[in-house]
Amino acid sequence: MLQGYIIVLVSFAYLGLLFGIAYYADKRADAGRSIIANPYIYALSLAVYATAWTFYGSVGRAASDGIGFLPIYLGPTLMIALWWIVMRKIIRISKNNRITSLADFIGSRYGKSAVLGGLVTVIAVIGILPYISLQLKAISSSYAILLQYPEITMPARAAAAPLAADTAFWVALILAAFTILFGTRHLDAAEHHEGMVAAIAFESLVKLLAFLAVGIFVTYGMYNGLGDIFDRVRAEPSMKPLLTPIEGVAGGYASWVWLTILSMMAIMFLPRQFQVAVIENKDERHLDKAIWLFPLYMLAINLFVLPIAFGGNLRFPDGSVDADTFVLTLPMAAKQEGLALLVFIGGLSAATGMVIVETIALSTMVCNDLVMPVLLRMKRLRLAERRDLTALLLGIRRGAIVGILLLGYLYFRLAGEAYALVSIGLVSFAAVAQFAPPLLGGIFWKGGTRRGAMCGLLAGFAVWGYTLFMPALARSGWVPIGLMEQGPFGIALLKPLELFGLSGLDQITHAMLWSMIANVGTYVGVSLLGTRDAQEARQASVFVNAYRQAETPGASFWRGTASAEELHRLLTRFIGPDAADAAFREYARSRGLAWPGELQADANLVHFAEMQLAGAIGAASAHIMVASAVKEEALSVEEVREMLNEASQVIVYSHRLEQKSKELERATGELREANERLKELDRLKDDFVATVSHELRTPLTSIRTFSQILRDNPDLDPAERARQLGIVIKESERLTRLINQILDVSKLESGNVEWRPGPVDMKEIVEDTVAAMSEVARERSVELHTRMPERVPAVTADLDRIVQVMLNLLSNAVKYCDARQGKVEVALSQSQNVVRIDVRDNGPGIAPGDQEAIFERFRQASEPQSGRPYGTGLGLHICKRIVERLGGRIWVASGRSGETCFSFTLPMAS
């Protein structure tokens, strides 16, 4: 016979032992000799995952579903293989940014958003309530059953009992008091609870040993080993389906897969798992061993679930005993008093471990991310001016712990008793799974925005509430059952358990499917459509690039003015004078400066202060407080974006490089072009020199030849001598003319000609030049006519140059016109605003192919008879240069053996 007081006494002794361990660990931590700083304690503390659900509920599930309970443990086994990548990054980010909780993490990632942190807190608290109620139910019902020892009777429904007689209520209160003792004796700037972790690790050992003990006892004490149990099950027709059970589980493989995924998320995002795995982590390297130790622990604690479940089914075939209690009732049935008590303590350890860590984590969230941001914003409270806020912070947390446990108890009274343990827990799993998209998205995807995270969470949480939370209340009669069976307003498509007509899935799979679609879809969709502000972009980069950050990741983004004393005062108010002094001294020492006195309030110090504060009150509140103490200059989005973009420097450089290379390319192009031009000019010059030399040599050769003849033949016939002397003179003249023209060309081309433009009367020039040429024309018997109007407007030109052009054209015409009946006509006309001069001869004409070319240097129409040109080949080139320089145009019109007409125009004087 187990007396009630014995059970209570043992329970309190156990809790006292836990407290002793915690106290000792805290003392050791204060002395700087931590007992939890090793991977084994870390792995054992992760085993807080195994709660009363595992301890009692797995057997209950296995008794009806066979291996249906296993995905909850296989999921974490798979997930932990990825922890090396995912969890290490989360831990690194949390350490860099002094994250204090899951809500802090998500709020911080999306621009230190207090609203988002608050939303996460609300979801976490509501989502976890069923889970806490599960623990209360487990403790109270196991106590009630043990109290009846050796009778085995199921406890009456607690809802019927008055409050003061309800064990669960007292359990909730005792646990609250105990959690307050554990978690909120003092305020730690980094939210480390070393004592708690040590106690949790110890609890993990106790529950494992208790479960293994009962497993071994049932398997080998009550039955003859595994084979015996399974043989008996096979002999029992009603239990045979349990041996190949996957199809038997509602939803079959789909349910199996979704439960696995669900537990993969739960192992990371349950607030208590986040607390022990991330916040309480002392060293990233502890993760190594935990990656295989933790799955090993889960394997061990699950080994005997099936034997106990089947043993229970065989022992209590009539179903009078709840399968959730087999772990306790089997030893009781075998009259093992001590073992039953050990099982009770094991169950107690599983439940208290969960409740303590979960409520501490949740109270931190409620305090830092829900209450403080609101209080700090309420100017009326003048909170920012209070000297010491540590008492207030602790008060809020203690209140939150009591509140959460009482809410858990309320849920237990409202809905908890209608479900088996596992089903209650799964509702909570599905709630925290909603954190997966914003958190995982937040550390690997920079594009996720605050609005996206907020909308995604709201959507996912709403679907969760509609498809899981509400049905749980409905089953207990708190929501009209018609809503469940016909859908709201009789709309069958909106039935909470068969949303949009999706049926054939079990409740959890159905809810997970829809809530994940809503959550991920909204998160990604809204993120992609929206924009981020500077703060968000900054935090996104800090989180996603956690491995690339320097020691103080945020400091480089800060710009403003502050005083070190002010920051110190701020810190004192929240974490107390001793801790603030110590922090500042440590900081100053690390920089080789003295405090107080030498410390400058630069960006690094402000960042340091904000991080210290974040450790105590969360990132969002810390940001508000520091902002109130210092004047921060707002950074524009562009500035931050520029700073952020981890490649921006590289991009700027490469951009410049690109620009430089483009400039270089352009310069090279220009150079090449210039070079081409120079080469062309060089070639032209060579040509010119060659042609000039040739042109000069021709008259020189004839002069020399005739001079030699005259010298060598003194007795030459006088007439012949005269003729030859005449040739010498003519060739000399030609030479002179040639040289003059070459000088002209070079002057024109180098621009060394002095132009004296002025109004010129073309009629006068034509008359003068014709008169000048008339003697030559008469010698060659060429008729020279002019055809001119009475009056011609003056043109703008250089008189001497125009005379040169006219003489050149006239002498050409006289030279090339018909040898016997030569006719040259000069015509003057005006059209629009130009005066046009035509010089026409009846010479052999110029082939169309040559008409352009004759204006080039040294180009002449070949003389058909002698093949030797009369001219120098420069005259027309000079004419063209002069006319074009004066703004006119020159061209030739001719046909072979027809008349040739050289024309040019000159602009009228305005």
Partner: protein
């Protein structure tokens, strides 16, 4: 990070292996009414695969080079 790179790839490989072992269709191969040493083959398979996975993780983590 560099010397830890093979380790993270091995762990990812183990994750994929685990996903295969604990899912349809491999799981369905063992979902039959047979037994090894008196234990239904499905249970034996799952716990054996689980133990194997844990052992492999331990080997990957503890192997130092």
């Amino acid at each position: 990070m560099q010397e830890q790179e093979p380790r993270s790839q091995r762990l990812i490989a183990l994750f994929v292996l685990g996903c295969l072992l604990f899912n349809y269709p491999l799981l369905s191969l063992f979902n039959v009414a047979a037994e090894v040493f008196g234990v239904p083959v499905l249970y034996a398979y799952i716990f054996a695969a689980w133990a194997l996975l844990v052992a492999l993780m331990a080997i990957v983590i503890e192997s130092r080079r």
